[in-house]
Subunit: 350 residues, 2 copies
């Protein structure tokens, strides 16, 4: 080897540490051939999707979106908590959510499967049924992919999408902006907790939460409404409100304050976990609602249009001192800062 391996392993810097290093290597790189020059890049690495400009068939300018997401067995799901059909739904839904968060509509998907040889073919077909159900619901088509042998099961979706308006980015938040979400928080995490801790519990609340975990509904309509309503800053909540808001603030060079009492918690989550709903709402991932910011006079009229659960949950604040961007303070009704152990997770963390 003609280079120094150094001393760091992936476990030392974490998933996002590796991403940051690689993003620094690739950003702005890549020469232009005729294809690249014909379709100028608008959004490089670091947001929910890449974006470039193409023409519509009517001659108008259109933004094409491109994103990918992977689920590895034992890391992102287990067969005991996610049936095959729901796995198919979720594997594509995570990508649709990324497209939705840019204000786009999903169009075409490629599916890559890493399959251990002792996988049942009928299980894979069942997973595809879940993908096709999501595809019909959101109007996207699976148009190919790749199947490879692998010692561990994984599924990767690559998804193209389209936005007719400028894409919603993470980088536009300004001090004084209201911070809002497009729906209930913590329901998916509540469902996962139920599935892990008491999988046989029955009842309306349990059914609602398990369904929220297994069949999350990407916020495509919300993304359209935000884009039409003058919002320019958004992302989807995939790793948890506090964690994802920290990323949005980092990209925007600001900080934020979240009002714990304002987090929208579905009554059935509150009923099932009367003492534990708040960490789920602030830290639970995979709800796939949209997190967005904007001047209060732009944000507030949108809340009633977005439907159940949508709410203003905080405010963007100036960056706090040197290197203090991206800090998210959670405060109670009295304005006292809360200390939370949860709040998203890094899969490589110790």
């Amino acid at each position: 080897m003609g280079y120094n391996r150094g001393v760091m392993m992936v476990r030392d810097v974490g998933e996002f540490g590796v991403i940051e290093r690689l993003n620094r290597m690739v950003t702005g790189r890549g020469a232009g051939n005729d294809a690249v020059r014909a379709f100028p890049l608008l959004v490089d690495t670091g947001d929910d999707t890449a974006v470039w400009q193409v023409g519509g068939l009517g001659g108008e300018r259109v933004n094409e979106l491109f994103t990918t997401d992977t689920m590895v067995e034992g890391v992102h799901f287990t067969r005991s908590t996610t049936p095959w059909r729901e796995l198919g739904w979720k594997a594509v839904a995570a990508n649709v959510s990324d497209v939705a968060s840019m204000g786009g509509l999903p169009s075409y998907a490629l599916i890559t499967l890493g399959l251990p040889p002792d996988t049942w073919v009928a299980d894979i077909e069942e997973m595809y049924r879940g993908m096709l159900e999501l595809g019909e619901e959101y109007g996207l088509a699976v148009v190919g992919g790749d199947i490879v042998r692998s010692p561990v099961f994984f599924v990767t979706t690559a998804l193209a999408g389209v936005a007719w308006r400028p894409p919603l980015l993470r980088s536009g938040a300004r001090p004084g902006d209201a911070v809002a979400v497009s729906g209930w928080l913590g329901s998916s995490a509540g469902g996962l907790r139920l599935l892990l801790e008491c999988p046989d519990v029955a009842g309306e609340a349990a059914d609602f939460l398990r369904d929220a975990h297994r069949r999350p509904a990407p916020a495509v309509r919300a993304g359209q409404l935000l884009s039409q309503g003058g919002i320019v800053t958004a992302m989807d909540v995939s790793d948890g409100l506090v964690d994802d808001l920290g990323k949005l603030c980092g990209a925007s060079g600001v900080s934020a304050r979240v009002y714990a009492d304002a987090a929208p918690v579905h009554p059935l989550l509150r009923r099932q976990f009367p003492d534990g709903f708040l960490p789920l709402a602030l830290g639970g991932g995979e709800d796939y609602v949209l997190l967005f910011t904007g001047p209060p006079e732009v944000v507030e009229p949108l809340i009633p249009q977005l439907g159940e659960g949508s709410a203003v949950v905080g405010v963007i604040t100036p960056p706090e001192g040197a290197g203090g961007t991206g800090r998210v303070a959670v405060v109670d009704g009295a304005g006292r800062e809360l200390s939370l152990s949860g709040g998203g997770w890094d899969h490589f963390g110790g």
Copy 2:
């Protein structure tokens, strides 16, 4: 589970068996939202890339291509035969080759990495250097991706590309067409054999073959020349000439005859393996030359333009009896059919 698992595992039907079943499920499915209607699908599953139509920024019609390919450690490569930088090159090159085989230019790539936590960060950076080298060579940009924890290392590339002419498909071969390739066959497989059997052998031939295995050059220029030269039927040779020609014949509803003596074998492959070059040339994969067919009067004038190694290697024949499409007969100089044990492989095979 509300469905019958049946009796078949992936190992029973093989990689391509699973692909066929899933393709039957998805082909033609997927409803139209505004995005899908705006960009009509031209090529669905079953070819080297999916294709849909967009507009160029000058108002012309353009075909956008979309493909993905995965390499799993221990299945598609080992660290002993593929250094990290070359792994990065190859992981993207396989996709560029698929775009080239449709007559397209690569534009934007997303990279997904499945990383065991004890992976060295410097190794991943070295791999990215290889990707960036290929990107600069072919004018494509890496614009994002995903990093996940995984018990096995894998790398998935999703690549978008552009073709200004109608895409070259697998399905257009007709009896009487000449079968041709755009360059040398078997060099990559020869390099792999050297690396596995005698990694320390030195010399010009060994260097050439190892380089052919580690830094294959996708045939982007050849794809452009074929498309401009009136060819409509092509694919890339990734699994071996006989194997891939069988797929092309299957898609076209024809059969084929290959002249073993005509297979273009580089003098250095012949020198290194004087008794073993033919199975490598007919069955070895990953050369990433293009395989194409067309009327002899269209094919023959193109051969000199395509450069070293390009040659007519066979002829398309009518389908042989019921269900006989896709059969490839290899004949010697006297017209006698040869029986080969090699000829591509199915990773799930027994």
